[in-house]
């Protein structure tokens, strides 16, 4: 499941400029980064996802699928923090080696999981309400060096290109009964990877030629449709940001 596959161009924030849209996610990101509260982070995770489902018009099943890979990575990473060897309270012993959970590790891992999930949900919110060129434009407004922005756009385009080429070639292999024999799977996959890189390079070259033919310069500049600003557009994001800050203060005050 890829973001570009489920991105809805008619999401509920599409009429707003990317700068106003940033006010929906940027304060949440800053507050989550500075927060040390597990409750706050989980609340943000929940609220952002509910808001994302409403705003982006995507299905819950699709959103859930997006979390599969990051959750696996986070949980695997947390195992290293949670496990204690040798453990004071072991749940399994391998000879003289006792393995258990450390109380401090569990606390730290919970904070890590909550913060990571909240930040990932904010990242998905940003990606599902902005196109790549809108994010690049926003980066330009924040005076991020042009080289980094171009690298960001090129990397995104190349990954997209690799994915499309890989998908088509994999389908072509399967149509010719590829991967039907277990012993041949690894060489076939290696062959696929080599062909995908080769084809992707060719596609990238052709794209470059097509861009040059339309006078493309050194920077990847796209022109978005003009979206009018209005003070009233600020009310909801500022309200949400204030409520989030208030919640963080409460969590901090009560030591949650």
């Amino acid at each position: 499941m890829w973001i570009t596959e489920i991105y809805k161009h008619d999401h509920r924030l599409s009429k707003l400029s990317p700068t106003i849209r940033a006010l929906y996610w940027a304060p949440a990101m800053v507050l989550t980064l500075v927060s040390g509260s597990v409750y706050f982070n989980f609340t943000m995770f929940l609220v952002i996802n509910l808001f994302l489902l409403y705003v982006s018009r995507i299905r819950l099943s699709n959103l859930a699928r997006l979390y599969r890979i990051p959750i696996v990575f986070i949980l695997v990473g947390c195992m290293a923090i949670v496990l204690e060897i040798p453990a004071t309270k072991a749940f399994v012993s391998l000879g003289k080696l006792s393995i258990g959970f450390s109380a401090h590790g569990i606390q730290l891992a919970t904070l890590l999981v909550s913060r990571s999930l909240a930040l990932i949900s904010i990242m998905y919110f940003m990606l599902l309400t902005n196109t790549i060129s809108e994010i690049a434009e926003l980066m330009r407004k924040f005076r991020i060096p042009a080289l980094l922005i171009d690298l960001f756009v090129i990397t995104f385009k190349f990954i997209e290109n690799l994915r499309n080429t890989g998908f088509e070639m994999h389908r072509a292999q399967k149509c010719r009964l590829g991967y039907s024999q277990k012993m041949k799977r690894i060489p076939l996959f290696a062959g696929l990877m080599a062909a995908v890189f080769h084809q992707s390079m060719q596609n990238a070259r052709q794209l470059e030629t097509a861009m040059q033919a339309r006078c493309a310069g050194e920077n990847y500049c796209f022109l978005q449709e003009e979206r009018p600003y209005a003070i009233s557009q600020l009310l909801i994001p500022v309200g949400l940001a204030s409520m989030s800050a208030f919640l963080l203060l409460i969590c901090g005050n009560y030591g949650w």
């Binding site: 161009h9 097509a210 033919a213 339309r214 022109l223």
Partner: protein
């Protein structure tokens, strides 16, 4: 007398690998005409088109635009690419922007700085190509016909004088293909010069004002469709066949001169009906 818009004078091109793609081509494209470039696979059609747009620089020979020798500096390249718009065979290899609006604005944004004028121009062309409702869509998720329309809109928005289309009907169903040619014809009526590369001899015969036959990077034959397509031997040498209309006309009347060939299906049917009535 129609003047030449663009000329190649003894132009050759070799790929970096050393393989010769274009061999000393002398070619002059008249202004305001519909020109078809034909040849078998690997004849050098796409390379020739890229030479005309300034993407490739001839290894030998010269390129002249409106009688002036072309210089390959940065400013001149920008100018040439604005005047010579190219629509590529594979739409997916041309579409770069995340939305239809940004795709149509891409070339204009690279050329001009007046954002207000660019936006007006983009809206105008989106409307002309019936793409207004799709302007926020990702071009990659649309049908082949729609993608081709977006590619055309994005190039035509730059208002080129010469519109080059590499296989404009490839991957298109007959209806989309017809719509594409109608859009191109409308541009020709506005005075734009059209150059298409194609394998489709039937399409080229009825559509083009001038036909160029290419073989192994060299011009084999050039002339009106009737002149070029009446010569079966030269066509076979280029790896092509005569159009169906020519074959039928010659079956009906062997030895028919090139100038006597019918221009389109309607003319052939009229002649056959007339003959049938006379015979009866």
């Amino acid at each position: 007398m129609v003047g030449s818009l663009i000329e190649l004078k003894a132009a050759s091109y070799r790929y970096p690998s050393g393989k010769k793609a274009i061999a000393e081509v002398d070619l002059s494209l008249p202004e305001g005409k519909k020109i078809a470039l034909l040849g078998a696979n690997g004849a050098g059609k796409s390379t020739l088109l890229l030479l005309l747009n300034g993407i490739y620089k001839p290894t030998n020979g010269e390129l002249h635009y409106r009688g002036k020798q072309y210089r390959y500096n940065r400013k001149a390249l920008q100018e040439l690419r604005q005047k010579v718009g190219i629509v590529f065979q594979e739409s997916d290899n041309q579409l770069i922007a995340p939305s239809v609006y940004e795709e149509v604005a891409f070339g204009l944004n690279n050329l001009y700085s007046d954002k207000k004028w660019i936006r007006e121009q983009v809206e105008k062309y989106l409307d002309y190509f019936d793409l207004l409702e799709l302007k926020h869509h990702s071009p990659h998720q649309l049908s082949s016909g729609q993608k081709k329309r977006i590619c055309l809109a994005s190039v035509l928005a730059m208002e080129p004088e010469l519109i080059i289309c590499d296989e404009p009907a490839s991957n298109l169903d007959p209806q989309s293909s017809r719509a594409t040619f109608e859009l191109l014809d409308a541009q020709n009526k506005k005075g734009k010069t059209l150059l298409i590369s194609t394998h489709n001899v039937n399409q080229a015969y009825v559509w083009a004002d001038l036909v160029i036959l290419l073989k192994e990077g060299a011009v084999l034959s050039i002339g009106s469709p009737k002149q070029v397509f009446s010569d079966a031997e030269t066509l076979a040498e280029a790896g092509l066949e005569q159009p169906l209309l020519v074959k039928l006309a010659r079956m009906h009347q062997p030895g028919m001169e090139a100038e006597e060939l019918p221009e389109n299906e309607a003319e052939l049917v009229n002649r056959l009906t007339k003959n049938l009535c006379t015979d009866l």
